[in-house]
């Protein structure tokens, strides 16, 4: 089958083709999944090299699991996000960087020095800093929901919890982020309102 004709195939169809020894499926699946898995890992770990290792490991597990993939089970992307999620949490715990659920986010000083004209990247950096202070599970939930754009049922499957627990984690994470970012709104060019 020509490469272009594969563009409309689902991730599941491509993985099944790979499992039957079809090398043509490799490039498309890699291009679809790797940037998302890497982005998620990088946001969780805040370390590019570690995030690359995690994304590569997750994809390797996907390739190895392909021959046993059962049609109709979880989406391939959900399965892969779940692997990345577990690998990230393991690394955070082993390296002592993990933030427990009980730890309260540290609110930033609202009187931080203001700098006019900060660009969008500064807002993204401020968000990343605030995310890093969240407990791991809250960070997972809010990154998957608001930065990766996944649905709550998908996140529930990735995190192996119920949908209500996802909603609760996301709400708490957002309150923690708001506490961390409220004082920086003026500094980051949002003005008072």
């Amino acid at each position: 089958m020509p490469f272009d004709a594969r563009g409309d195939d689902s991730d599941e169809a491509l993985l099944a083709a790979y499992g039957r020894g079809d090398a043509a499926a490799v490039r498309l699946l890699t291009e679809r999944l790797t940037p998302r898995l890497y982005g998620y890992a990088a946001r969780m770990l805040r370390d590019a090299a570690e995030a690359e290792d995690v994304a590569q490991e997750a994809m390797l597990r996907l390739w190895r699991m392909a021959p046993d993939w059962q049609a109709g089970q979880a989406k391939v992307s959900t399965w892969a996000f779940r692997v990345v999620s577990n690998l990230c949490i393991d690394r955070l715990r082993k390296s002592g960087r993990s933030v427990d659920l009980d730890a309260a986010p540290e609110p930033r000083d609202a009187s931080a020095s203001a700098e006019a004209g900060l660009i969008e990247a500064d807002r993204a950096a401020a968000l990343q800093e605030a995310l890093a202070r969240l407990p791991d599970r809250q960070r997972e939930a809010v990154v998957l929901r608001h930065l990766e754009g996944l649905s709550n049922p998908e996140i529930a499957e990735i995190m192996d919890i119920g949908v209500e627990a996802v909603e609760s984690l996301t709400a708490r994470a957002k309150r923690g982020l708001a506490a961390g970012l409220a004082g920086r709104r003026a500094e980051l060019g949002y003005g008072d309102d």
């Binding site: 790979y18 499992g19 039957r20 020894g21 090398a23 490799v26 490039r27 699946l29 890699t30 291009e31 790797t34 940037p35 890497y38 982005g39 990088a42 946001r43 590019a48 995030a51 690359e52 994304a55 590569q56 994809m59 390797l60 390739w63 190895r64 392909a66 021959p67 969008e120 990247a121 807002r123 993204a124 950096a125 401020a126 968000l127 990343q128 605030a130 608001h146 930065l147 754009g149 709400a171 957002k174 309150r175 982020l177 708001a178 970012l181 409220a182 709104r185 949002y190």
Partner: protein, 120 residues
């Protein structure tokens, strides 16, 4: 109501930050993509093996497949035909041979009889 208001405030506060975060997604390097392609190709499962061929199919394959079998069949039929079909004229030749066998040597060599008498 207070909770709803708080939620709205939080959502309004964060939306700009989330938008900035989505626009500033970490980018996977070309090197990472290449490593993942290499892993995929190294791990690719072997295509399913074809069913084992029967004895006749394997013999046929060993001697060169169906073209060789077709040649062999043609040669076999030709051999049988040659064996059974009597070529035209062969009977005449055989009859002449039998007639020749009825002659004695003396009939063919007239001087032979005299020589034989002299020796006797």
């Amino acid at each position: 109501m207070a909770m709803t208001e708080e939620k709205e405030n939080v959502d309004n506060l964060l939306e700009g930050f989330f938008e900035a975060g989505r626009g500033d997604a970490p980018v996977a390097s070309a090197d990472l993509m290449e490593r993942i392609y290499a892993d995929a190709l190294a791990e690719i499962p072997a295509p399913p093996a074809p069913a084992r061929a029967g004895l006749l199919a394997r013999i046929s394959e060993a001697i060169g497949g169906w073209p060789a079998m077709a040649g062999l069949a043609t040669a076999t039929v030709a051999g049988i035909w040659i064996g059974y079909a009597q070529p035209v004229g062969l009977g005449v030749f055989s009859a002449a041979e039998e007639t020749a066998a009825a002659f004695e040597l003396g009939d063919l060599l007239p001087g032979y009889g005299g020589l034989a008498l002299e020796e006797g």
